[in-house]
């Protein structure tokens, strides 16, 4: 087996490991899209590996498989980000409408970036498989769009000072880095051509493995708790010294409870 074969296998393995971690932490129901994506992507990696090895990269079978499954994976990635965003807004009922706007902006961003990239890219004449070329080019647009979506949604949370759980922050950080690295590598691949393609196909999965491992390790049961249950504190109470004292007492109570439990 070559190094590239090991990388394919490792991608599937780490994805399954993160999915197993979610199952172990009883978080599958809380993160259905993340779990579905990890399982689907792991299966996809294994089948891709088998098809690639059996018929080769330029075979019709591998090409068809890639064209059909790749858009599904992209849609799933989008769902994972929106799922994390919904978790971020959970408990903030006053920001629900804003949440809808955020989702619409996200969808609009995807459409806009994909369209802009189609316009910017020169047409390819005499391509043997125009669909394959179209999707390969869309890979760059999709990852660019997903990176921007991540930025927009995280900015909403940062702007409103939302308190998020560590797991949600992990999803944003891991997938943000993943999108960013893929988008960067795709930009270089499209610019440098075939010479960089080999580097991209080695570096991208290695980075992906690193991000997924980081995600699997960072996900914990305690990580589901928010840093401070701010939503419980009524604004009116928090407007004066009484509010501040109440908050201090609440945090002391929480600390005492933790000590008693441990």
């Amino acid at each position: 087996m070559e190094i590239s074969d090991w990388i394919w296998a490792a991608v599937g393995a780490v994805e399954l490991a993160w999915a197993a971690r979610l199952w172990q932490l009883v978080l599958v129901r809380s993160y259905p899209f993340l779990t579905s994506y990890l399982v689907f992507s792991a299966v996809h990696s294994i089948v891709s590996f088998a098809t690639y090895n059996a018929w080769g990269q330029y075979s019709v079978a591998y090409g068809r498989f890639w064209i059909i499954t790749q858009p599904i994976l992209w849609v799933m990635l989008f769902c994972v980000v929106i799922e994390a965003y919904n978790h971020m807004l959970k408990g903030y009922e006053g920001l629900q409408r804003l949440g809808q706007w955020g989702s619409h902006i996200a969808l609009g961003t995807v459409a806009l970036i994909v369209l802009a990239m189609i316009v910017l890219d020169p047409p390819v004449d005499g391509a043997s498989s125009p669909w394959a070329i179209f999707w390969i080019r869309q890979e760059r647009s999709v990852y660019l769009a997903l990176t921007v979506i991540c930025l927009v949604l995280v900015s909403v949370g940062a702007y409103y000072g939302l308190v998020v759980s560590r797991n949600v922050a992990t999803v944003f950080a891991v997938f943000g880095l993943l999108f960013l690295s893929h988008a960067g590598l795709s930009v270089f691949r499209d610019h440098l051509g075939a010479e960089f393609r080999l580097i991209k196909y080695t570096v991208a999965p290695i980075l992906y493995i690193l991000w997924v491992i980081a995600g699997a390790f960072a996900f914990t049961r305690i990580g589901e708790e928010r840093l401070a249950d701010e939503t419980a504190a009524a604004w009116g109470d928090a407007s004066g010294t009484t509010g501040q004292l109440t908050r201090q007492l609440e945090s002391v109570n929480q600390l005492l409870l933790r000590v008693l439990r441990s």
Binding site: Y92, E93, G94, L95, Q96, R97, L98, W101, L120, D121, L144, T147, V148, C150, L151, V154, S155, G157, A158, Y159, Y160, G161, L162, V163, V164, A169, F172, A173, G176, L180, A183, G184, V187, D190, H191, R226, L227, A228, E230, T231, A233, A234, W235, G236, A238, S239, G240, G243, Q244, R247
Partner: protein, 179 residues
Amino acid sequence: MTTFEILLAFLFLVAVGLGLALRRLRSNGEEAAVIPGPVASQPVDEFYRPMARLFTPRDIEFLRKQRGYSSTMDRRLRLQRQKVLRLYLGQIREDFSALLGHCRRLARSTRNWELSSLAQRQMVVFYGVYFALQIRCLLGSFVHVRVDASELVSSLQNLQEGLRSVVKSPEGGLEAARG
């Protein structure tokens, strides 16, 4: 610039933005308790009314009718008024930012979704007018400009009313402040 360079620059900016946003998101829990400032309750209409009169043509006409008038005096007046307008704009921006900060904090602890919606709308209106006025202020030293700060003040007032109505009744509507 080629597409490649544009995309690289864009990616770099997005990466920096994402890093900063994630860092801020992680430190949100360390924020201090909310204590609304005086701007949340004080009437602002009276305070900011003189802004509209700073570049009124009547003042220039009056100056021109005076004995010993020279074009230097005209220019000096414009420069002085420009400085005053800048001070007003700085102050109103500070007030608006403070109020927006309270709205943001309140929006996350209330069930009323209209407050965040109102705050976003007013923010767009306010900063649109604010930057237009800054440009006019810059032009004010060369040519006569019309300074209409009423929209700026009204968007500040709308935000004030929205904040007040939610503080009075956290579950209530914002009909009075929809403006």
